[in-house]
Symmetry: C2
Subunit: 308 residues, 2 copies
């Protein structure tokens, strides 16, 4: 099959250059404005980018190469061809997100925000800090993102526990559990959601989930719709969550009227725990393209039924 | 020799309890107020604590067990007996200070203060972050503190270089240099001072030192008098230092009129990168006491000539 790619949005110019240099046989067009998307879409069979499509007809699209790890917005397209191939870019997102989690866990245990605030008030006051090495961390999701985060935290904390659907062991987690066996896990200090957005994970972190914990740091680097804003504020109020570090939200940018902005126990990060680079995109494109040509699959291929 | 200990200040009550429980043969008195120090001092031959002495006569004191790692203020006592034994507490200070350094380096590369400020302004704006793994870190001092910091950073950054007087290799530094060979070290991104305060290190980090670097993160967890405030502000202004993370100052608490409080490129931490615990103090006391009884020495013993 001959591919004709439409690309748009962040990294699209770099990606076009990459294709022209390394895959001169592949046709690629770049849309810089919305109306160009409309006019160019009917001429192509492949999409490459962070999702720039809305409700256009995409039934002729054979391959979508997502520049990010999350593909939920592509999967929601109504006219998606059932045989479409969707591949994604993970790159070193797991490593980046691991550094993000490590950063904010350290920020909490070392009390750097109160110290920063005190400086502005010219206040010299020691604030007892604690250590990473006593913490038990639960990571929801043991895929490439969850594994990357675990890798980063592994040597720093006491224990890293992974949660996946089957509860089967995965390296480098010290321990794993499933949703069914989760309640047996004791003494969790940090919960990190690396869950993708699928119909099965929407609002999955509900009040009964947070009831299993007390005084935890909750970090969301997965998808924002895994937890409802009001549930979060409620469990913070109940003391089940002492600090929520949120990099993802059901609606992004986070609406100005969200109560999360003003909560002292919430840190709003503008979806930047893992920012894909052109290197990530081109490497994953190469791996995906090679697999497609050979009629194979690899871990970059999205299972349309599972949704990730 | 029979020891009679005077203790005062932070951790003194816990230390008194420890001595009473584990060394019932040793006499210990605790001063809770300044005038009690005056009246109790003539009756003892041993001091235990963070330095609570000023200009009293200490010529009869045979042993000083410092609760911290820095002993410079003890060494400045004018009537110090030349045969006095001074021992100190390092405990896991190196590990704590390593976590402190890791925390603030991550805070810088992940831009968490601008993100925190943006939240207060309800501003959603991605700020490009970078990674730890490309950084080269120079640690001034390869003693227990410097080694602890190196241990923490070793697997996280590209390279950890240690500086000591002889330039001889020390584990776990990837590389070492001396003051004489320092100028040959290239591409340093972070400089951490773990220097003790001695006559030889006062103001040692002068303008010519900072001229060797460009756009570095400078962290001081050693002693404040290694660098003059005005030098620091000047090299920040010149762009040689892009951010200074200071946990120690020539005068503590940092005076209200110091210009460091208001510089956006300075983070003022109230001397808390390593806070000694009673466990640290009692462990180091036990090791020091055992060595003294056996007529030996160990790494907790301060060399009065070197000053650390």
């Amino acid at each position: 099959m001959d591919y004709k790619i439409l690309t748009s949005g962040r990294l699209s110019s770099d990606f076009k250059l990459f294709i022209k240099n390394y895959y001169p046989d592949i046709e690629i067009v770049e849309a810089k404005k919305d109306d160009e998307i409309e006019s160019l879409l009917p001429e192509v069979n492949t999409i490459a980018g962070f999702n720039f499509l809305k409700d256009q007809d995409v039934s002729k699209i054979k391959w979508i190469h997502a520049f990010g790890a999350g593909v939920d917005s592509y999967l929601k397209l109504k006219t998606l061809n059932p045989d479409v191939i969707i591949t994604r870019t993970t790159g070193d997102l797991g490593k980046q997100m691991g550094e993000f989690c490590l950063t904010y866990i350290l920020a909490e245990v070392k009390k750097i925000f109160p110290i920063y605030d005190n400086q502005r008030k010219t206040t010299w006051q020691q604030i007892p800090a604690s250590s990473l090495s006593d913490l038990n961390v639960l990571i929801l999701g043991t895929g490439s993102i969850g594994m990357g985060v675990a890798q980063q935290l592994n040597d720093q904390v006491n224990k890293v526990i992974g949660l996946n659907r089957s509860g089967s062991p995965v390296d480098p987690f010290h321990e794993t559990c499933s949703w069914e066996t989760l309640s047996k896990i004791q003494d969790v200090h940090v919960v990190i959601s690396a869950l993708p957005s699928t119909p099965g994970t929407a609002a999955i972190l509900d009040e009964s989930f947070f009831q299993l914990f007390n005084d935890i740091i909750f970090i969301n680097v997965g998808r924002g719709d895994a937890v409802d804003e009001n549930v979060l504020l409620k469990v913070i109020n109940l003391g089940q969550v002492k600090k929520a570090i949120l990099d993802v939200f059901p609606e992004e940018p986070l609406p100005k009227d969200s109560k999360l902005w003003n909560s002292e126990k919430v840190l709003v990060s503008p979806h930047q725990s893992g920012l894909t680079t052109i290197d990530d995109v081109s490497k994953s494109f190469e791996l995906a393209f090679k697999a497609i040509k050979n009629g194979g699959r690899n871990s970059l291929f999205v299972d349309l039924e599972k949704g990730y």
